[in-house]
Symmetry: D2
Subunit: 294 residues, 4 copies
């Protein structure tokens, strides 16, 4: 039983040239990714350094991706702000552009007050008012907020909530959620380490930073899984782990962008406060890509 948004998405990086965004480079990247089996793109995710962008820059980037994406590619956009009102306003400013869903991470500044009740109130208000379908986003590494499986189960019946991106990578979380939500609910994996076992347990796809540097491999794991070639899927998954580890945990966005540069996309610099990668990191990343035949 396939779902409308299923598949593997790249959580796109944001190209910068000097101090400014480089929307044309993003367009070029997307045109190259159009040739892969990726299901689509997430614009303005964590990997897109969305927290470092103004609303104006954000809008330009969305428009660039909308313009460049092949017709069959679905577009997701990260639209969270710290307030409920700000989240709704920004989300709705993007309506009418063919965006498949808005990905909404939880407010996180007032951590100690983000009780299950506060988060439920927030997400229901957003879902109610949003002109775009809503994907919940669990990203404890960056937000310091761990959504509870029960919160997801409580929110899932809302007709405008279409799924979850779960980036902690916990399959225990998946195990608690996956049978308690409606069939139409999309469970997206947000960690490149567990794509295959997550699909095996009931996820319908993944939204991945590593797919900026390795889009073919990321999409291929999904294809093999759907084709029932589980042993091959597992092997490819394990092949992907060292690259995902290096780019996501060790070197981060600046390292991922360097890997994009090496692979013929535009990576370029990250925006401060993210520091550039050093020479040793560059050598490590180059060696790793070479070893993987990329």
């Amino acid at each position: 039983m396939s779902k409308p948004l299923e598949g593997v998405y790249a959580a796109l990086t944001t190209p910068f040239a000097g101090d400014e965004i480089a929307a044309d480079k993003l367009r070029d990247n997307v045109q190259k990714y159009n040739r892969t089996d990726l299901a689509g793109y997430l614009v303005l995710g964590s990997t897109g350094e969305s927290v470092s962008l103004t609303d104006g820059e954000s809008l330009q980037l969305v428009e660039a991706v909308v313009a460049a994406a092949a017709p069959e590619k679905k577009i997701l956009v990260g639209t969270a702000r710290e307030s409920t009102k700000g989240t709704i306003d920004f989300t709705n400013s993007l309506a009418g552009r063919g965006i498949a869903a808005a990905l909404v991470r939880p407010p996180s500044y007032f951590k100690s007050k983000m009780t299950r009740e506060a988060l439920k109130t927030h997400y229901l208000a957003v879902a109610e008012a949003s002109k775009l379908p809503v994907l919940i986003y669990n990203m404890p590494q960056n937000t310091g907020i761990s959504l509870e499986p029960q919160l997801i189960i409580d929110l899932a019946p809302h007709p405008n909530i279409v799924g979850l991106k779960e980036s902690s990578g916990s399959l225990a979380f998946l195990g608690e959620v996956v049978r308690e939500v409606p069939d139409r609910f999309h469970y997206f994996l947000g960690s490149g380490h567990v794509i295959y076992p997550g699909l095996e347990m009931g996820a319908c796809g993944a939204i991945l930073a590593v797919a900026n540097a390795a889009p073919e491999m990321s999409a291929e794991i999904f294809r093999l899984f759907k084709a029932g070639k589980k042993d091959e899927a597992r092997r490819l998954q394990l092949d992907l782990v060292p690259l995902n580890k290096a780019l996501m945990e060790v070197y981060g966005i600046a390292g991922l962008k360097y890997a994009q540069d090496l692979r013929g996309y535009y990576g370029g610099p990250a925006r401060l406060p993210l520091l550039p990668v050093g020479d040793q990191a560059k050598r490590d990343i180059a060696a790793l890509l070479k070893k993987m035949g990329l």
Copy 2:
């Protein structure tokens, strides 16, 4: 040896009426606070729900306070954004308005990459480019980032860095920093639990949320300390603890605003995702204020 910015500041709440900010109510509050011994005001701090405001709303609030503050009151503004560029741009958009200093909390979304080096690079870039003097802001409860004492010591010599607001309330932190920074450096306490012992150990003032509800008491602890009346200062400090605990930890900003309402200021609702306080909380807060004779 007194310092130019020393004393106790209120970290002002932001009044809302329905969905919108109510700058006129902020003006009224400030005119009432003008009659107290507060040294001045912090606009757009954590307590001001700054993360829940647009740039346009932020500017209106700053202008309201600038217009309403008595001439001897100093004005501080929270100006941090997640990117270095965004922080500099917003800070400099406020130049030329008589603001005494910009309070800058660290970027915190990319937690795992906010190494000492990244934070140092960020703060030095901000200090270098900022048209306002800079106060560093340590607020681990909200940011999930604990600045290290050594980072403060490393940054303190920069001529445009004039001090620190330290909201973890750790006097161990103060003890490590206070003799290693230039004499001109302002060490502000950010916790209403430790004003007196912090002053005793070398802090020059405090920037406090609780001062919205109890401005006289907050300022009086400073006055008594300066007058050498240490026993009275300590007693008043201990009197303040239960109120500070209730408003800061237990009930948070929505509770603080309710206490303002009871004390004749405009508190009003917080903006979602912060939930309103319930009836029991209201009774507790009212009882506490009554017991304290406020």
Copy 3:
């Protein structure tokens, strides 16, 4: 390729009668478990409240299990103490009793000093001196120490280190470790939420608290996986999640023991500081077991 210790083990609870251990009740339990497809037993694990036992009590419990276990059942024992010397001494006091391996959690009291180097030194010293084969134990929930995948990879080549029990339940951890260790290395899952996907990705078994209450189901997931009946294994895995959640996370050891009582084993009380479960918890657990047909 099957491994000598592979399969599913019960991490046995420790029966108490009043203030004292009840070794006879443990013997009875083991005799019942002997009739299941469990591969064997872990004595003195976290679930066995080993930290609440004296050395003398510990030894009695080991002897009871050795005496009661069917010949084909393998016996593992938790033998960690906070010091390297204490760990070695206690481990070696159990030699010569037919124990298959010692499970060794890391020292954790001096958390800030448990660097990768300190942990490596500790485990190598234990492995070197131990008369029993050693299983490393990652249990961050209880120890506050997260072993790094790289530490496991560094330790795995030692001839007396035969594997790992990984209780955080992270398949990302598994993904980083499983191809970097020798073929003979046993990777045991320690979370009942992820048995099937963990086996799918290369684990060779599991050591589970929930197997005290549901030994047949726990062992059956392994059997189905080995028989290539993956859909059935996945379904049974998802069936197990709510029970595992209730007994491991919500109610803990006291709840697990109550479930044992209901299922015809001896559970009995936990030792203080673990509180008994309340009446509502008992009803919940009974209802859950009934719903599962247990």
Copy 4:
């Protein structure tokens, strides 16, 4: 109003010679400390590596200190075990030796179950059964358990609970507790960074690891405070901070022991898993002591 146990105590290190404890060296150290103004000694504290000792070793060390301490020196002993029963049994095994109080850290292995109710039940059971007066011990750095101020307030009325050692160093904690407990309650500081401000706010003494290396300075801060020489007390407090930082946070127990060696006491090695300090650390510690004139 002075309290019977008030003053500054050294939290004694445990001397080892090779693999064994060296009780004679502990006796020598205590005889030297007898000549200082320390109020007494804590045996088997965190600094004493108590978690790395057997019960037999622990008893020998207590007996050595009891034999060596000058008559006016009070003796405290750390007696916690993970179970309530184990704590009571070990505490009572020390009765009748002239020990002033037992210091009891909370059980911490089953972290997620150590609710306020579980901790209250544990401490009340220990207080009820203990033949020694009980001091509660808050040590979140090592235990991963933060006792709440309200728990202390709830426990303080018990007639066999005589006080608290609070090692997080939070004066906010002190501010919440100090006026809500009976006058007879001893509030001991456990952090060498905040002795003076803590005394100023109502603590009656301190139990300090750094007092192994700098007993005179530690005791002198207390003496100056009691004599009303507050400026001198503050200066000495700030002088102590860099040494306390180096020995407690940076280098830990192995570093503290090296500092003892340099100052004419027996420090010697720590027991594994604590690693020895390296050559650079030794040079740093020596330079720091020299700079302080010790």
